[in-house]
């Protein structure tokens, strides 16, 4: 490995040493702690067994590894009495536990799972539904796939617990159409769970009934958006609904109260039940508790999925450390990082952010944090003007053109807009067309400003957050790599003047089927 890489590792280790990272819950064994420096490394809660040789998706294997024990215990748990004498049912108590665990949604928005559950309208008399969002289609993300294929029973156990806690009798797993194998494995796992009485009528003799069915999507990204998903599950086009009034917790599936949670979130529910909310909250960092699975792709030596404590590993470590990305390709320098799926705003190598940190006296003081030293968590990335979204990190080195990369993403959004809102439907296509020109020799000097102008007119003016998802990459790429976009347009314009052709004479029209 080149010396540049070594230097980067060294500086990262120094940084970690000076900040000092605390240990973790006793019950969880670390692979190795060689020195007082806490080595950034994986901590596997959800993926504990998934990649062990011989570990399979069948129920026998899951049971052998202690599977469904947590469910058995939870269903038998008595209620709880609070210090003020108030009595909680076992379900209420567990909903409280999920809230105090600090678990935040792993699907994209990072919203508190317990708080979301507390919004459910329990007074309407309508049935409450739960939907597992297994649409996994945010570009860069490939974590839910690991769970669905390798450990489907863990998801089912998490779902049964979540359904029980929320008085849900009917739940669905909405899985993207391009996961046919995942759907088959889930169907088999659900049948196995039914046979063992973990699912169906009178679960484990407790009188609790629950059914879970698999519902397959059919290749549309917008089905990942929770209200689009609900429409799709109702057998319609996945046109997202406007909020208010259509908050799923109140007016969801069949206009009944509905909980939509990501695959990984629901698996965490099982671990919260198993280890207790306090123990769970000791993992990760305050307000960013537990572990999460990071999907790392792009220009690193060792791409893959890594389960880490939230906020205990930096972006730089994810890219460069031996335990994760193992650095860039030989001779390459870092150029840009997309930190939370394609919809998150890009980070530029060398950027420095002012973050609030606790000083020695307990006061919050602003500290300059270089981009690579940003802890990979919800709050730090938000403070840096972006988001950890679906936990997908896409790395780009200095051999890459940001114009080409953005053109690729813009094409994705143009293809995937559901078409309900004019700014999104037209704007996403205009941006893709503009970037197509810019990457095919037909650029203009004003294109950088033009792209920004369109993006600004999409965000905040649409029914669903897809509008932002389409606008943010354009806004951030163009702003942070302005010269590159300018230069491309100017070069094209100059070439045309030289050739004496003002128009885009040689340009093939944009076509995306």
């Amino acid at each position: 490995m080149d010396s540049n890489h070594d230097k980067q590792i060294q500086s990262l280790l120094c940084y970690r040493y000076t900040i000092g990272q605390c240990g973790t819950g006793e019950k969880i064994e670390r692979k190795s702690i060689e020195s007082s420096i806490a080595m950034p490394q994986e901590l596997k809660l959800i993926l504990k067994h998934a990649d062990e040789p011989g570990y399979g998706p069948d129920i026998g294997c899951y049971l052998k590894h202690g599977g469904y024990e947590t469910l058995k215990k939870a269903l038998k748990a008595p209620g709880r009495e609070l210090p003020d004498g108030k009595k909680l049912s076992a379900q209420e108590a567990f909903r409280g536990d999920v809230r105090t665990s600090g678990l935040r949604g792993r699907g994209g928005a990072g919203f508190s799972a317990g708080l979301k559950w507390s919004f459910v309208d329990r007074s309407s008399g309508k049935p409450i539904y739960l939907i597992c969002n297994a649409d996994e289609s945010e570009p860069g993300t490939f974590k839910d796939r690991q769970i669905l294929h390798k450990d489907p029973h863990q998801l089912i156990e998490g779902m049964v617990l979540s359904c029980w806690a929320n008085d849900v009798k009917l739940a669905y797993i909405y899985i993207r159409g391009e996961f046919p194998e995942g759907a088959r494995l889930l169907n088999r796992a659900l049948a196995e769970a039914r046979e063992k009485e973990f699912l169906g009528k009178n679960i484990l003799g407790t009188g609790y009934d629950l059914e879970i069915w698999v519902h397959r999507g059919a290749g549309a990204y917008i089905c990942g958006e929770e209200t689009g998903l609900i429409e799709s599950l109702e057998g319609k086009r996945a046109y997202p609904r406007i909020k208010p009034p259509y908050f799923p917790a109140v007016l969801g599936l069949y206009l009944c109260p509905t909980i939509v949670n990501n695959v990984e979130t629901l698996c965490h529910v099982k671990h919260i039940a198993a280890m207790g909310p306090a123990e769970f909250a000791r993992l990760g960092t305050p307000n960013n508790t537990g572990t999460r699975i990071v999907s790392l792709s792009g220009d690193v030596q060792h791409p893959g999925y890594f389960e880490v404590e939230v906020g205990k590993v930096t972006i730089g470590e994810l890219i460069f450390h031996e335990n994760f990305g193992r650095g860039l390709k030989p001779g390459r320098q870092l150029k840009a990082v997309i930190p939370g799926g394609s919809s998150s705003k890009v980070l530029k190598a060398g950027e420095v952010f002012s973050l609030k940190r606790k000083g020695a006296d307990g006061q919050m003081i602003p500290v300059d944090v270089p981009m690579l030293d940003l802890p990979y968590d919800f709050d730090s990335l938000q403070s840096a003007g972006t988001m950890s979204g679906s936990g997908a990190v896409i790395v780009m080195d200095d051999s890459r053109s940001m114009v080409d990369a953005l053109a690729n993403l813009a094409e994705f959004y143009a293809h995937e807009s559901c078409g309900q809102c004019t700014p999104c439907r037209e704007g996403a296509l205009w941006m893709a067309k503009g970037l197509h020109r810019l990457t095919h020799g037909g650029g203009r000097k004003e294109d950088a400003a033009y792209l920004t102008h369109i993006a600004q007119n999409i965000q905040g003016r649409t029914i669903c957050a897809f509008g932002e998802a389409a606008a943010w990459p354009v806004l951030s790429f163009v702003e942070k790599f302005w010269e590159e976009f300018q230069a491309r347009g100017e070069a094209d314009a100059a070439a045309r003047t030289e050739a004496g052709s003002g128009a885009n004479s040689n340009l093939k029209p944009y076509s995306y089927a």
Binding site: R176, A220, G235, K236
Partner: protein, 161 residues
């Protein structure tokens, strides 16, 4: 209607419909099953679905024309879906798709799905297949191929039905 649906498939669909309190919800699952059986969704199949679920035909047609995975015409027996999105693009997905097209005598620049005249292969670009860590990836019918180079692409073609 000349359209005939095998008894066991109909039984399977009837069972699927019981998964939902509202029958219309089953339409996507019906279309998947019908497409799997017939290779595509004919107008007869669409209208049969509508009748079965108590819908107007437009309620089914609007799905077939919205969801990219449904198709109204037969395609190649081996369906090659090359991921086009960023992580795969960085890993050379465009070159892989071009390789498939050139080997099969298809237009390497056309962006639409293309089928070989002998009906063996359909090649198309699709969006992120959620396997970006092993880019570039190609979905061949129902099996995922990861880190696909030209050699592996040739093997896929050699094994194609």
């Amino acid at each position: 209607m000349s359209f005939v649906i095998p008894k066991n498939l109909e039984a399977e669909l009837d069972e699927l419909a019981t998964h939902y309190p509202v029958k219309r919800s089953a339409s996507l699952m019906f279309l998947h099953a019908l497409q799997e059986h017939f290779g595509f969704i004919s107008n007869d199949a669409a209208e049969w679905t509508a009748g079965k679920l108590g819908l107007q035909p437009i309620h089914v047609y609007e799905l077939i024309t919205f969801y990219p995975m449904f198709r109204q015409e037969p395609i190649g027996r081996t369906q090659v879906k090359v991921c086009r999105t960023l992580s795969c693009a960085l890993a050379g997905a465009a070159g892989i798709r071009e390789h498939f097209c050139r080997k099969l005598g298809l237009d390497p620049h056309a962006h639409v799905p293309q089928t070989t005249p002998d009906g063996r292969f359909t090649v198309e670009f699709v969006e992120c297949l959620a396997a970006c860590g092993s880019a570039p990836v190609v979905l061949v019918n129902e099996s995922l191929h990861e880190c696909v180079g030209k050699g592996q692409a040739d093997e896929i073609l050699a094994r194609g039905k």
